[in-house]
Symmetry: C2
Subunit: 285 residues, 2 copies
């Protein structure tokens, strides 16, 4: 069980790390953090998001019970590789990475028997990045996905669940690595590819005056962090290519139907999309 | 000039016709309406959206000075064809149709010299349809596009402009038929095709639990009136096919870049989409 003696340590103090720190501090836990940027640490200290902070990469590892990585995927792998032997025996580690196959198994392979890594994915975010935008309220409407492997213990998985509850996530679920990465390829990565592609289709900025909600809705996520998303796409490349192909085939089907003026099939497609989308309705959208 | 003697007549009393009636009544104008559905007329009378109504297709034509068609495109052409000789000399007609080439010139060709048709497109709408959802407040954030041809008079165009001002449209502009239909093919029709296609790509309803804002944003407009949009797409088929092709080429480019793991080009595409999308920002999105 997590208790007031549990020492949480956050590695990488960006929007996600800072928001998690804020959520934990509200419950009175001891929270430390490491970030190579002294300004991030300084900000978090001043705003009481953490108790102590350091820019030294392996700071607090000997004492931390529960470590949350807010690092970029590539950086996480390097960091674990470098400091695998320095964790406190019995420590539990989790992450926030949006893809799992290329992260969880490599990380688990690097760690000693005494340290457990349970992959997880808080499906929350903002268009902004940086610790100064931290806000633990962003977890409230969001999903939290735990992605265990056979290397994980029931105790470890239970603690991660408890952690997500502490942060007030709306819905906590468990998926296998394959289920998670396929789901993310479709729901999140394909949608970002479409938004970016639509925005890049023409130099369309002269159309601002005529733009209504439809175009704005479809392109909101075309504002995208090029470093993070390039990593995430490459780490889930096969699933994402598969989803792009399926979408392209469906689009080609629509194009052919329009070319042939197959009115019945056009209407069938519209009715089907309408019925399906209604199941995704929340109040107001 | 429009004045208190101007008799407005609305043909087809759905969401758009009803909302226009409401906006005009607020200014104290005389507003009549025709709809083949007696319930629509009854509703509009009870809610004081109109002064008089009829289910007779050519009702009020001898007296109406300013006629607004809220009919479906195919129905508008039939209706004009049938009653072209019954309009009051000097009458001005406009419409609300979302495509223009296949509407304006055929309608103008059917009308006698004494009656002027100026095509226009109020870019407002709701996911719902029917006169009972009428709300003239929906015009306030919306664009109004006037699409004149060489057959139109300065006086006629000016009156349409005045009409759009009365309804409180945010921005009123003038486009040629070609400019309008190309713009609509990209900003509105292509976005609907993408949303419908994304919704039809998989039977994805088991993913509801994991769905975040990105997917909901991209598919909101996949709830679509299959009768109206089938007509609109077919009436702008060539422009829409062209836009789908350009989008598909851009998507294929992205897929190839991902396949090759061309990190520099991926980042360039993300930076470009981010910069462009920022120009479309309104407060909050």
């Amino acid at each position: 069980m997590l208790n007031k003696e549990t020492h949480f340590h956050i590695v990488g103090l960006g929007l996600m790390g800072g928001s998690i720190a804020m959520g934990l501090k509200k419950h009175g836990f001891t929270v430390t953090a490491m970030d190579i940027d002294p300004n991030a640490i300084e900000y978090a200290l001043q705003h009481h998001l953490i108790d102590e902070g350091s820019t030294q990469e392996n700071a607090f590892l000997q004492n931390a019970d529960f470590i949350i990585s807010g690092l970029y995927p590539s950086v996480l792998l390097e960091w674990i590789n470098k400091y695998a032997s320095e964790f406190k025996p019995g420590a539990l580690i989790t992450d926030v990475t949006g893809v799992k196959a290329q992260i969880i198994e490599p990380v688990q392979a690097l760690l000693p028997e005494t340290v457990e890594f349970v992959g997880s994915h808080p499906m929350a975010g903002r268009e902004t990045s940086g610790v100064q935008f931290s806000d633990c309220k962003m977890f409230k409407p969001a999903n939290y996905i735990i992605v265990p492997t056979e290397k994980n213990t029931e105790e470890g998985i239970r603690k991660i669940h408890e952690f997500a509850e502490l942060l007030n996530f709306r819905h906590i679920s468990v998926l296998s690595i394959e289920e998670h990465d396929q789901m993310i390829a479709f729901l999140s990565q394909l949608t970002h590819v479409i938004a970016v592609t639509l925005m890049n289709t023409h130099d369309n900025t002269h159309l601002v005056e005529y733009t209504g909600d439809s175009f704005r809705d479809l392109t909101r996520i075309a504002k995208i962090n090029e470093h993070l998303w390039t990593e995430l796409f490459l780490l889930n490349k096969d699933n994402l290519l598969q989803e792009i192909n399926v979408f392209q085939n469906e689009l080609t089907h629509f194009k052919q139907v329009l070319e042939k003026e197959d009115i019945d099939e056009m209407k069938r497609l519209f009715v089907q999309s309408t019925i399906r989308r209604k199941q995704f309705d929340r109040k107001g959208n």
